[in-house]
Amino acid sequence: MTAFSPSDPVPKSNAVHTGSALLTNDVGLHARPSVKLTQLAKRFGAHIEFARATTGPWVDAKSPVKVMRFKAAKGEMLHFRARGSDAAEALAAIVSLVERGFATEHEESSEPPQG
Protein backbone atom coordinates (compact mmCIF):
# COMPACT_ATOMS: atom_id res chain seq x y z
CA MET A 1 0.00 0.00 0.00
CA THR A 2 2.75 2.40 0.92
CA ALA A 3 6.40 2.27 0.23
CA PHE A 4 9.59 3.76 1.54
CA SER A 5 11.97 3.61 -1.36
CA PRO A 6 15.38 5.24 -1.12
CA SER A 7 16.27 6.70 -4.49
CA ASP A 8 19.71 5.16 -4.31
CA PRO A 9 20.49 1.77 -2.76
CA VAL A 10 23.92 3.01 -1.64
CA PRO A 11 23.19 6.64 -0.81
CA LYS A 12 25.88 9.20 -0.31
CA SER A 13 25.37 11.50 2.64
CA ASN A 14 24.27 14.33 0.37
CA ALA A 15 21.99 12.24 -1.81
CA VAL A 16 18.32 13.04 -1.99
CA HIS A 17 16.22 10.37 -0.30
CA THR A 18 12.63 9.90 -1.36
CA GLY A 19 9.64 8.07 0.02
CA SER A 20 5.88 8.16 -0.08
CA ALA A 21 2.95 7.30 2.12
CA LEU A 22 -0.81 7.20 1.75
CA LEU A 23 -2.94 9.32 4.08
CA THR A 24 -5.21 6.76 5.73
CA ASN A 25 -6.46 8.62 8.79
CA ASP A 26 -9.97 10.03 8.53
CA VAL A 27 -9.21 13.73 8.73
CA GLY A 28 -6.15 13.66 6.47
CA LEU A 29 -3.46 16.26 7.01
CA HIS A 30 -5.55 18.53 9.23
CA ALA A 31 -4.63 20.62 12.24
CA ARG A 32 -3.29 18.06 14.68
CA PRO A 33 -1.60 15.82 12.10
CA SER A 34 0.03 18.92 10.56
CA VAL A 35 1.54 19.90 13.88
CA LYS A 36 2.81 16.35 14.47
CA LEU A 37 4.40 16.20 11.03
CA THR A 38 6.12 19.56 11.53
CA GLN A 39 7.36 18.66 14.99
CA LEU A 40 8.76 15.35 13.80
CA ALA A 41 10.50 16.98 10.82
CA LYS A 42 12.08 19.54 13.13
CA ARG A 43 13.81 16.79 15.09
CA PHE A 44 16.07 16.14 12.14
CA GLY A 45 18.80 18.24 10.62
CA ALA A 46 17.90 17.17 7.10
CA HIS A 47 16.08 19.43 4.69
CA ILE A 48 12.69 17.74 4.28
CA GLU A 49 9.99 18.54 1.74
CA PHE A 50 6.78 16.93 0.59
CA ALA A 51 4.33 17.20 -2.30
CA ARG A 52 1.28 15.62 -3.90
CA ALA A 53 3.31 14.55 -6.92
CA THR A 54 6.94 13.62 -7.41
CA THR A 55 7.20 16.64 -9.69
CA GLY A 56 6.23 19.02 -6.87
CA PRO A 57 5.43 21.75 -5.98
CA TRP A 58 7.41 20.96 -2.82
CA VAL A 59 6.54 22.25 0.63
CA ASP A 60 8.95 22.66 3.54
CA ALA A 61 7.92 20.04 6.12
CA LYS A 62 9.39 22.16 8.93
CA SER A 63 7.16 25.17 8.25
CA PRO A 64 4.09 24.95 10.52
CA VAL A 65 2.10 27.41 8.43
CA LYS A 66 2.91 25.85 5.05
CA VAL A 67 2.17 22.35 6.31
CA MET A 68 -1.14 23.51 7.82
CA ARG A 69 -2.10 25.16 4.50
CA PHE A 70 -1.39 22.01 2.49
CA LYS A 71 -4.76 20.47 3.41
CA ALA A 72 -4.33 16.98 2.04
CA ALA A 73 -7.31 14.66 2.43
CA LYS A 74 -7.64 11.00 3.33
CA GLY A 75 -6.65 8.82 0.37
CA GLU A 76 -4.08 11.24 -1.01
CA MET A 77 -0.51 10.08 -1.52
CA LEU A 78 2.19 12.21 0.02
CA HIS A 79 5.63 12.18 -1.56
CA PHE A 80 8.62 13.10 0.56
CA ARG A 81 12.19 13.99 -0.23
CA ALA A 82 15.01 14.74 2.18
CA ARG A 83 18.64 15.77 1.96
CA GLY A 84 21.24 15.81 4.71
CA SER A 85 23.20 13.45 6.92
CA ASP A 86 20.11 12.10 8.74
CA ALA A 87 17.84 12.19 5.67
CA ALA A 88 17.23 8.43 5.53
CA GLU A 89 16.30 8.29 9.20
CA ALA A 90 14.05 11.34 8.87
CA LEU A 91 12.20 9.86 5.90
CA ALA A 92 11.67 6.54 7.63
CA ALA A 93 10.25 8.30 10.70
CA ILE A 94 7.94 10.55 8.71
CA VAL A 95 6.65 7.81 6.43
CA SER A 96 5.97 5.74 9.53
CA LEU A 97 4.06 8.62 11.16
CA VAL A 98 1.80 8.99 8.12
CA GLU A 99 1.35 5.22 7.73
CA ARG A 100 0.16 4.76 11.29
CA GLY A 101 -2.39 7.53 10.81
CA PHE A 102 -0.44 10.04 12.95
CA ALA A 103 -1.08 7.98 16.06
CA THR A 104 1.43 8.87 18.71
CA GLU A 105 3.80 6.02 19.37
CA HIS A 106 5.34 5.46 22.75
CA GLU A 107 7.94 7.95 21.60
CA GLU A 108 10.14 10.04 23.80
CA SER A 109 7.86 12.98 22.95
CA SER A 110 5.87 12.41 26.12
CA GLU A 111 8.18 13.97 28.67
CA PRO A 112 6.80 14.10 32.19
CA PRO A 113 4.97 17.39 32.65
CA GLN A 114 6.53 19.80 35.13
CA GLY A 115 4.20 22.57 36.13
Binding site: T38, Q39, V65
Partner: protein, 131 residues
Protein backbone atom coordinates in the same frame (compact mmCIF):
# COMPACT_ATOMS: atom_id res chain seq x y z
CA UNK B 1 9.31 21.34 30.06
CA UNK B 2 12.22 22.41 27.93
CA UNK B 3 13.16 25.84 29.27
CA UNK B 4 15.34 26.42 26.22
CA UNK B 5 12.19 26.76 24.10
CA UNK B 6 10.58 30.14 23.52
CA UNK B 7 7.53 30.72 25.74
CA UNK B 8 4.05 31.66 24.51
CA UNK B 9 1.61 34.08 26.18
CA UNK B 10 -1.99 34.41 25.02
CA UNK B 11 -3.79 37.69 25.76
CA UNK B 12 -7.48 38.08 24.94
CA UNK B 13 -10.25 40.38 26.10
CA UNK B 14 -12.12 37.19 26.94
CA UNK B 15 -10.66 34.79 29.52
CA UNK B 16 -12.59 31.99 27.83
CA UNK B 17 -10.90 32.65 24.50
CA UNK B 18 -7.48 32.91 26.11
CA UNK B 19 -7.94 29.71 28.08
CA UNK B 20 -9.44 27.88 25.10
CA UNK B 21 -6.56 28.91 22.85
CA UNK B 22 -4.12 27.71 25.51
CA UNK B 23 -5.96 24.38 25.66
CA UNK B 24 -5.55 24.01 21.91
CA UNK B 25 -1.82 24.69 22.18
CA UNK B 26 -1.41 22.13 24.96
CA UNK B 27 -3.41 19.47 23.14
CA UNK B 28 -1.92 19.99 19.70
CA UNK B 29 1.66 20.97 20.49
CA UNK B 30 2.25 19.34 23.87
CA UNK B 31 4.13 20.30 27.00
CA UNK B 32 7.51 21.26 25.58
CA UNK B 33 6.73 24.98 25.38
CA UNK B 34 6.21 27.31 28.39
CA UNK B 35 2.67 28.66 28.06
CA UNK B 36 0.48 31.12 29.94
CA UNK B 37 -2.76 32.94 29.21
CA UNK B 38 -4.61 35.94 30.58
CA UNK B 39 -7.89 37.59 29.74
CA UNK B 40 -10.48 39.89 31.23
CA UNK B 41 -10.05 43.09 33.21
CA UNK B 42 -9.54 43.38 36.98
CA UNK B 43 -13.33 43.59 37.52
CA UNK B 44 -13.89 40.28 35.79
CA UNK B 45 -15.36 41.81 32.62
CA UNK B 46 -14.10 41.73 29.07
CA UNK B 47 -10.79 43.52 28.75
CA UNK B 48 -7.11 43.17 29.47
CA UNK B 49 -4.99 44.11 32.43
CA UNK B 50 -1.34 45.18 32.36
CA UNK B 51 -0.45 43.60 35.71
CA UNK B 52 -2.00 40.28 34.68
CA UNK B 53 -0.09 40.35 31.40
CA UNK B 54 3.17 40.94 33.27
CA UNK B 55 2.37 37.95 35.49
CA UNK B 56 1.57 35.78 32.50
CA UNK B 57 4.88 36.68 30.87
CA UNK B 58 6.57 35.64 34.11
CA UNK B 59 4.79 32.28 34.13
CA UNK B 60 5.77 31.55 30.54
CA UNK B 61 9.28 32.92 30.95
CA UNK B 62 12.10 31.36 28.99
CA UNK B 63 15.62 32.66 28.56
CA UNK B 64 15.02 32.13 24.83
CA UNK B 65 12.29 34.77 25.05
CA UNK B 66 8.51 35.00 25.02
CA UNK B 67 6.14 35.53 22.10
CA UNK B 68 2.84 37.24 22.97
CA UNK B 69 -0.32 36.62 20.93
CA UNK B 70 -3.09 39.21 21.30
CA UNK B 71 -6.59 39.74 19.96
CA UNK B 72 -7.72 43.36 19.55
CA UNK B 73 -6.72 46.93 20.34
CA UNK B 74 -6.26 47.10 24.11
CA UNK B 75 -4.79 43.63 24.26
CA UNK B 76 -1.98 44.85 22.03
CA UNK B 77 -1.39 48.23 23.68
CA UNK B 78 -1.58 46.74 27.19
CA UNK B 79 0.82 43.99 26.18
CA UNK B 80 3.26 46.57 24.86
CA UNK B 81 2.89 48.51 28.11
CA UNK B 82 3.50 45.33 30.10
CA UNK B 83 6.66 44.63 28.10
CA UNK B 84 7.91 48.18 28.69
CA UNK B 85 7.48 47.64 32.43
CA UNK B 86 9.59 44.47 32.52
CA UNK B 87 13.08 44.71 33.92
CA UNK B 88 15.94 45.47 31.55
CA UNK B 89 17.35 42.22 30.23
CA UNK B 90 13.88 40.73 29.96
CA UNK B 91 11.92 43.31 28.01
CA UNK B 92 14.23 42.93 25.00
CA UNK B 93 13.28 39.26 24.85
CA UNK B 94 9.50 39.62 24.60
CA UNK B 95 7.69 40.39 21.34
CA UNK B 96 4.06 40.91 20.37
CA UNK B 97 3.20 38.96 17.21
CA UNK B 98 1.03 40.48 14.49
CA UNK B 99 -1.06 37.37 14.06
CA UNK B 100 -4.53 36.01 14.77
CA UNK B 101 -4.60 34.93 18.40
CA UNK B 102 -5.72 31.29 18.15
CA UNK B 103 -3.99 30.23 14.95
CA UNK B 104 -0.95 32.33 15.81
CA UNK B 105 -0.60 30.70 19.21
CA UNK B 106 -0.70 27.18 17.76
CA UNK B 107 1.71 28.01 14.92
CA UNK B 108 4.10 29.93 17.18
CA UNK B 109 4.09 27.11 19.73
CA UNK B 110 4.71 24.52 17.01
CA UNK B 111 7.72 26.50 15.82
CA UNK B 112 8.90 27.03 19.41
CA UNK B 113 8.61 23.33 20.22
CA UNK B 114 11.37 22.62 17.72
CA UNK B 115 13.77 24.93 19.55
CA UNK B 116 13.46 27.88 17.15
CA UNK B 117 14.65 31.37 18.06
CA UNK B 118 12.23 34.09 19.19
CA UNK B 119 12.60 35.79 15.81
CA UNK B 120 11.75 32.58 13.94
CA UNK B 121 8.75 31.99 16.22
CA UNK B 122 7.44 35.47 15.51
CA UNK B 123 7.98 35.11 11.76
CA UNK B 124 6.04 31.85 11.72
CA UNK B 125 3.08 33.40 13.57
CA UNK B 126 3.15 36.43 11.29
CA UNK B 127 3.19 34.25 8.17
CA UNK B 128 -0.53 33.81 8.89
CA UNK B 129 -1.31 37.48 8.35
CA UNK B 130 -2.72 38.45 4.94
CA UNK B 131 -0.10 41.08 4.16
Amino acid sequence: MNVANVGIVIVSHSPKIAEGAADMVRQMVGDSVPLAWTGGNSEGGLGTDVASIIEAIGRAWSDAGVAVLVDLGGAETNSEMAIDMLEAGRRERVVVCEAPVVEGAVMAATEASGGATLDAVRRTAEELSPT
